[in-house]
Each structure stands twice: as C-alpha cells, then as structure tokens.
C-alpha cells in the first residue's frame, strides 16, 4: 500500500484567519417553475385537496403527480383525488435543523403513504401532535392538518403537518 502523507489544520484556525484562506458566501437566488403536474398539485393543495395522476397502462395512482409514468414511459392519462389520510411508512425524530444546528425540541419527519394512492406511494412531511416522540410508530394512521384557507399559498406547506389519528 502506498499513500501520500500530509497534515490537516484546525477549523478554528481557518475561522480566525491564522492560515491563508479566502472566504466567500454565494448570493445566487433561484425561482423554480413548479412545472405542469406539480403546479396543478399545488393549486389543489390551496383548495385543501391532494391530487394524483394515473397511468392506464400499469394502473398506478401516482403521488406526487407527474405528467409521465416513469415505468411505462408514457403520458399519465388522468387526474384523481386521493385522501388526506395515510399511514407512516417510515419516520425520523430529528434533533438537527436543515443547517445541522441543534434543535432544543426534536421534529418528526415521515414518509406518509396516502390513502387512495397506489400502495407504498406518498409524500414526505412533518408529524406533530404526537405526544412523546417515542410513541411515533411505523404503520401509525395520520391525517393532514391544513392551514386555514386564507393562509394557503399553493405550497406543500399548505398542509401544516400530519397528526396521528387516535382511535
């Protein structure tokens, strides 16, 4: 085995400018078109509804919707509402925010398989009103909690979160 020997420096020495470094923070801004399928999906969210597209060849009811079926590689040929209830397929209890900073209170994120969509198809969203995070379980039934209509903007966050359905 042959390797090149060198050495590393401390992050704090970089921060404090003790070794030659150049710093830069990008200021690029973006505005993404939501596209054909997701624009309709977002408009429906504004109305408090979740919509899927369907493929008549494989029979899938696909959510998030797309204008093509990636398996059959043909146009999706219908729209169909699915329910705003579903089942937790998997979840995580995160003590980390998006920038890796530490959260005092954890947040729960889950893949939710939506009722009415094809088996195993769903979206990623937050879970709240769960009580103790240790009580969150795979297979748990959940329901969307919508923002009030006047606060909706046509975004995935028009669903504020999903909450467990207590039986």
């Amino acid at each position: 085995m042959r390797y090149y020997q060198s050495e590393a420096v401390e992050t704090k020495d970089i921060k404090e400018g003790k070794i030659p470094t150049e710093k830069f923070r990008p200021k690029a801004k973006f505005a993404w078109s939501a596209g054909i399928a997701i624009s309709r999906f977002l408009e429906e969210l504004k109305n408090g509804k979740i919509i899927a597209t369907t493929c008549s060849k494989c029979g899938r009811i696909m959510v998030p919707p797309r204008i093509y079926c990636e398996k059959c590689f043909k146009p999706a040929d219908g729209w169909k509402y699915v329910k705003d209830t579903g089942v937790i397929n998997t979840f995580s209890v995160s003590f980390l925010a998006a920038d890796a900073s530490r959260l005092k209170e954890p947040i729960v994120v889950a893949i939710i398989n939506l009722d009415g969509a094809s088996e195993g198809m769903g979206i990623v969203h937050r879970i709240e009103e769960y009580g103790d995070w240790r009580e969150v379980k795979i297979g748990m039934k959940v329901k969307a909690v919508w923002k009030p209509p006047e606060e909706r903007t046509g975004a995935i966050t028009d669903i504020a979160y999903f909450k467990p359905i207590r039986e």
Partner: protein, 388 residues
C-alpha cells in the same frame, strides 16, 4: 469476453483522509495520481486517457470542478472526462475508466477521485440540502441525515433489527481502521459507545455516521497487453455494473436497495459469478452509515434480505471471518471524502488481492473481491468485481 479488451488495475495511490487537509483539491489529486503512477511504474506520457470523479461542486464551492481539477489529475492535453453520480461516484469512476480501455480506444486510463468537503465550513450539511426537490421537499426543511434515518428505520422495522446489531458495524470498521495509515476516525469503541452517542435524527446517532473529510485516490488502468508488460501482479476488472432507481424516493420501499442488486447482477454476470457468498472472498460495500454496510451486503446478494446483521454478529464479516467486509476500515473508520472514499475501496481490494494490505491483510489468499458505492437520492448503485 465483455468489451474488446480485458482491463487491469496496475497501480493505486491514496492520500490521507482528514478534515481540513492543507492541500487544495488539485494538489490532492496530483499526489494520489502521482503515487498510483509510481506504483504502476508508468509516466504520465504513458497515459492515454483520464477520468476524474468528484461529488457535488458545492463542497468545494467551485463550479465546473472537472476542469478545475484537470491539471492535478494529469489530464493536460489528454482525452478527459469528469463523471458524477453522487455518492456512487467513487466506484463509478473506475467503471468509466474501464469502458475507455475495454472499448479498445485507449491502452491506458488514469482514474482519479477527489473530495474536499471541509471547504464548505463550518459544515457541508447546508450544501447537501440543495439535493432535494425545490418545490416539494426543501420547504419541509430537509436535512441530509433525515433520508438515512428514514431508510434505516424502515430497514430495522421490516426485519426487526436491533440497533445493537447495527452498531457492531461501526465498532468493526473503526477497529479495522486502526491498521490503516490514512484513517481519520480509527478507534476502539464499544456497542454501548454507539448507543450512548448523541442522537442526530433517530435512529441515527453520532457514532453511526462517517465524518466530513478531504482526500483523493487514484488507480491506473491498462489493457491486458500493457498490464502484462508492466506488472506481474495485475488485478483484473472482471465485472462492472451500475443502476439508478426512481427519483420519487417517497414512492419506494427503502428497506431494500433494488438498484444495488441490479448493478450487482450486471457485474456478477460479466464475472461469471453464480453464487456470490461462495465465490467472493472479500467485500467493500459503501458504509457512510453503519446500517448501510448491512443494507448493501444484502443488495450485493452476499446474504439473504435481513440476514446481514446475523452474519455481522457471528463474526463472518471480521477480517478473519468467512467474508471479510470493509477490511480497510471503510468510511466509518477511514473517513468519507465521498468520491475518494469509494475509490479507496477499490484500492483496498487491489492491495488485498496483491497481498499488499500490511497489517490489514486478510488470510486465505483472496482471489475475488467486490467494491460498491451508493448515492444520489438513495437510488444509485455502482459495483466492481476484481480478480487476480
């Protein structure tokens, strides 16, 4: 025979894996490439093509990283390509090198992988968030660790796997790394240490995860005629495979990596491997997280679905076990400069098959090894089978 020419690895070189290495990415690429050329006994003028692998540009903060790294990778005035398939890049890059030579177009190809994750400071996590869908996923506040946590939880749930069994992978790989001079996080730790480490995103804890790293690795590929001229110990690339699954990751069952199986089957078919656990002597599956080694052992068909934790518990995957797995120390022990980490796994198989792995050398005269990397949004598998 697949391709026009049989292809061998005739040289390999790596740098240290560390946070904040002093060298730039170009310098690291140069040092790894030069080391690999020296081992091969070749000069840059003998190299007919160059393939570079590096993961997201956002870590280095240099857009068009391929062109930025070209001089360091030895590409001056040569046919040159940079390839990128997320975390799968490190094993995919020698696959791209393979087709350069196997096609008959080039006798030799220099394959270099580099990653400088610490340039994005204090932490590259924020750069990672830009991999998510901008409309449906980023507004949820996605963190990279979440996708691993979601996958790990689904895998544990499906097979009723305990965290204790998964932690054994971290214990093994960090201990294996004690014998690897490039390693960043070699340590003797216990299962309890892993279980008591800080919760990042349940079920992922601090010691389940590989670190942020800088590093580079390189291999020299040669066609059969050139390989036999320059070395008595060529290591043959006998199988290559790669595959991608749907980007709609919330529509897939994450408990099993189908796409790794698809890539593995492609590579095994080419290598004529019918019974992977029997015919493969050692494996370097991608292990950025401890459960990923298990997940990938299953995708690589080295055991049945859900059986990898049992093999680990029984010691089968230890260096002196029947199927040594990550004898290098893996990403958990050596560090995770993404593309370089994947290619380091290929280098480890090269050293092990040549009997050059020093204190890490596995017993039993190994003849066949497999390395694998994984990436994009839990959807990419790249697999290479090496033989001597």
């Amino acid at each position: 025979m697949f391709g026009k020419k049989r292809v061998a690895i005739v040289g390999a070189g790596v740098t240290l894996f560390r946070r904040n290495l002093k060298e730039t990415g170009k310098e690291l690429s140069y040092e790894a490439a030069k080391t690999a050329l020296e081992v091969a006994g070749l000069e840059l003028r003998d190299i007919k093509s160059v393939v570079m692998g590096s993961a997201p540009d956002a870590f280095d903060g240099v857009h068009m990283k391929g062109e930025y790294l070209a001089d360091g990778a030895g590409a001056y005035h040569k046919p040159y390509t940079r390839v990128f398939v997320g975390g799968g890049t490190g094993v995919f890059t020698p696959l791209a090198g393979w087709w350069h030579v196997a096609s008959g177009q080039f006798d030799t190809c220099l394959v270099v992988c580099e990653e400088k994750m610490s340039s994005c400071y204090p932490h590259p996590q924020y750069a990672f968030t830009t991999i998510f869908d901008p409309i449906l996923e980023r507004p949820i506040g996605m963190n990279l660790i979440w996708i691993f946590a979601l996958e790990m939880n689904r895998y544990m749930h499906k097979h009723n796997i305990k965290k204790e069994d998964i932690a054994l992978v971290s214990v093994k790989n960090k201990r294996n790394a004690l014998d690897n001079p490039i390693a960043q996080l070699a340590a003797n730790i216990t299962v309890e240490d892993v279980l008591n480490s800080e919760i990042m995103a349940w079920p992922v804890q601090r010691l389940d995860v590989s670190p942020t790293s800088d590093g580079a690795a390189a291999v020299v590929l040669a066609s059969e005629d050139v390989a036999k001229e320059v070395t008595d110990n060529p290591v043959w690339i006998d199988g290559v495979g790669w595959c991608i699954d749907s980007t709609h990751w919330t529509d897939r069952d994450l408990y099993y990596p189908d796409y790794v199986e698809c890539a593995a089957k492609m590579a095994y078919k080419m290598a004529g491997i019918k019974n992977p656990p029997k015919e493969i002597d050692l494996a370097e599956p991608y292990d950025p997280f401890d459960y990923k080694e298990l997940h990938h052992m299953e995708g690589l068909l080295l055991c049945k679905k859900g059986e990898a934790p049992k093999l680990t518990r029984e010691g089968v995957t230890q260096r002196d076990g029947d199927l040594p797995t990550c004898p290098s120390g893996g990403l958990l022990g050596c560090g995770n400069p993404i593309a370089a980490a994947g290619l380091m796994k290929v280098c480890e198989i090269f050293w092990q098959l040549r009997g050059e792995a020093g204190k890490r050398q596995i017993p039993g005269d190994p003849r066949t090894g497999v390395a694998q990397a994984w990436g994009d949004l839990m959807q990419y598998g790249s697999v290479i089978v090496l033989r001597r």
